[in-house]
Amino acid sequence: MAQLFTKDTQAIFWNNNTSAIQRMLDYDFVIGRKTPSVAAIVAPTGDSKFQKFFWGGDEIMVPLYKSTPEAKKAFPNADVLLNFGSFRTAYDVTMEALDLGGFKTIMITAEGIPERLARGMNAKARNLGVTVIGPATVGAIAPGAFKIANIGGTIDNIINSKLHRAGSCGLVTRSGGLFNELSNIIAINADGIAEGVAIGGDRFVGSVFIDNLLRMQDNPEVKYMLLLGEVGGTEEYKVIDAIKEGKITKPIIAWCIGTIAKYYSSGVQFGHAGASANAERETAEAKNKAMAEAGIYVPSSFNDLPNKIAEVYGKLKAEGVITEISEPVINAIPSVRKSKNFICTISDDRGDEATYAGFPISSVATPDTGKGIGDVISLLWFKKQYPKWATQFIETVIKTVADHGPAVSGAHNAKVTARAGKSVVESLVTGLLTIGPRFGGAIDGAAEHFKYADDNNLSPAEFLNHMKKLGIPIPGIGHRIKSLRNPDLRVVGLKKYAAEHFPSTPLLDYALTVEQLTTSKKDNLILNVDGTIGILMVDMWRALGYSEEEINEFISSGTLNAFFIAGRTIGFIGHVLDEKRLAMPMYRHPMDDILYQVDMAEEI
């Protein structure tokens, strides 16, 4: 691959480094990228599901994951890993990503990864054909396409240094700070860069000068290269060899910094860990001399570098190798941006007509639309268009749980409150507040525990044993009076609907084997209506293609209870209106229905 990055390149960013990520997204916006360059963030210790960032003046959300495999699974096309782990964790993060596969480039920012680990990591990446940038680097940039983290600095500097659009120089440096400086010098003395890499300051870095220069040789956008080397190491000689072997034919300008090192025999570490000459040929002088002899453009000093760049650029332009670049239009980032305190992802009232998950209300409301309350729930609760069999199942559930007579505690509460002269809403909520682990909660519990048993391949007997150990009766099993011989017709209806319309019902099938075992012990230990609803909801979501994690999250966030709340609200309102209609007086519980046993409080 001749180009390191394109305008479609997306990265997974390991560590929620918000300022660096914001810089990337600002860059994306300025150059007019369609997709954010950061697809996902790995934040192992965070609890949030996403992080908000500015996208121009607006805001977007970038999803957060606990691990690289989860992020990669969600964004398989994100083939760059930006590893911002510390020197303690960066190695493990890289090795995990290499084992996982699917990454073309891994950038590592940490400085001071143990050398032996860095060597093993770099060798493994090389064998797998993965380009490693770093360790100890600020990154790389393909102007006008993709920029890693902080490289290039602020947006103002990026534009001043013409890093917002491709120029014609391929820039490779060790130092990240001087990378920016050179971009600026190249922008002033030539037309900017086509691709740039700061390879990193540690002694053992993944991709070295020659790797990057060979790629740039093949990249048609690059017309000439600039290499800024350092005292120490012999990497520059590989470049000289490549020129001699004819592998590199484009002009190269090069300079090795650290000419001062010759004055100090040892003991003074100039610059990076990699910058220490162990032999005469590793000194900056020797390398500058050898490069000049190989036909590389070498200035007389760092001060002279700008002149050399202007000279080579002028020559290539005169030869017609480099043509004039038309400056692209750039998007301006508003100077004042305000972060929004609330986020809404389900509906929008900013247009002509309010929408439910993108659908104008009128397009789902009237009968001729063919949409029912199940469709509205699927849009507003799940942001998806569920198929008919699923929306009708939802409606069946809502209808099934709408009421269960006046005696159940929620309805009783609502009635007592209504008789105290309170309003519909006050009476309703007293009823709703009863809903929880004991009232209506069996739907949640049944879904949770049956799914657990099924996920873990527990036999019905093992499941019963498991619940016994937990010390709780199995939610969704058992009825006051109904039995196998005298079945609950609501359950019969639900099961019949599922059998006819669901693609499959694996959890229900499992639950029925459990029911066989429980009813063999006691006749009324049947799968009740709560259990059936909870279990069939899981089957519905499975058939709709949700992952097990997503379904677990529905269960733990109380979504199943929500169906009960929505349905039973209908019944409670009925009871409240009934009380209003009957104008019954304030309720007082009869004293003879209360067992009084009040002992004198002891002094302690």
Binding site: G153, G177, L178, E230, T259, I260, H272, N303
Partner: protein, 444 residues
Amino acid sequence: MAQKAIREYDAKTILAKHWDKYFPDFTYAYETIMVQNGAELKSAASHKTWLANKPLVAKPDMLFGKRGKNGLVLFRDNKPGDVSLDKAASWIDEKSSSKQNVYFSFHGDTPEGEPKTDYLTHFIVEPFTPHEQAEEYYISATCVGDDDVLYMSAEGGMEVEENWDKVTEVKFAITETEEEIEAKIRANIPKDVADKDKEGFAKFAIGFFKAYRELNFAYLEINPFVMQGNKIELLDMVAKLDDTAGFMMTEQWGDIEYPTSFGMEEKSPEVMAIEEADSKSGASLKLTVLKPDARIWTMVAGGGASVVYADTIADLAGIEDLANYGEYSGGPTTGETQFYAETLLDLMTRSKDPQGRNKVLIIGGAIANFTDVAKTFTGIILAFEKYADKMKDVGVKIYVRRGGPNYEKGLKDIKEAADRLGLWIDVYGPETHVTDIVRMAVEA
């Protein structure tokens, strides 16, 4: 610097600590002690009985080699192997009482070049081990390029550089497995290792190379080791550690010290304070004092830029004018920058220029990627406030060049602060070439 030299005593201590893991077929008595004077040695004899019972060898343990040729190995009083505890103690006191000349290079036995002169402060003392020349072997390992290299020779105790043809060199890629490494070592045991020792040599070399790798040595040399059956003596050792592995080697290495080399300036308290601050910070703070009386001081941001400034000062002003080398980078806090600046200002205002010239402070840097320039400059300004009077006494001209996030504010703030404090200052941004302020300062 990732690779750091350690004392011979510490190298032996690390190997002894893990001896049974790497050398289960051999024994090593680990009779060795490091002392700073004779009294310390004598008092140690109460718990290390071998000091009084065995003839001794004493030599300085200060990271330099060629101790024999420098006449700094005590192994004979009247004849080889007769050094007593008293003799060793008095020899150590004698050698440490005045500065000693040490040559680092020899042609044959003739010293070459200039000697370094300094006090000897650390000595290693061990029993004298009578042995045959044939029992001495050489082994070392290090990393060359991308590979590990194991060097082995049947000739121990020699000048390796002068006898390179007697050394077998085996290269290993980092990816090679334990089995591949073992087979390769066995296949390359030097031919002239005595037949009776070949198996033992192979086992020792395999363990040695494994210890080198697993204990994160950057360089490890035993020259010579003595093999008498399954009994090993480590007569002379040189070692460097990869100190970036320190965080995972605390248990394996124990409490390790990285001494400065002989003849180098002892680290000043200021330099040690900066090192301490550096180790506690996510940012990078580095300082080396080259010539405390020199005229030009640098406070440069960035590892690369700092080198470019040093290069340019050497080119334009000459090396004798450069007082220090250092850099701060990686987004240091205001407090860290202030501490760094105060340390420099304190050092540079201790004396006036002997020739009566102004001193020069170069506050330089490239265009920062993410370091907030105004924030770091706030730290420098706070340091100015504290040292303004001293700076004026000495006569300091300040040249600033910097770019990066918030640089306009940073430059404006530092200019205003210097003007308010009556300090001479010139301030430039990214439109000025990065090292051009050096030219301005030198030409002024």
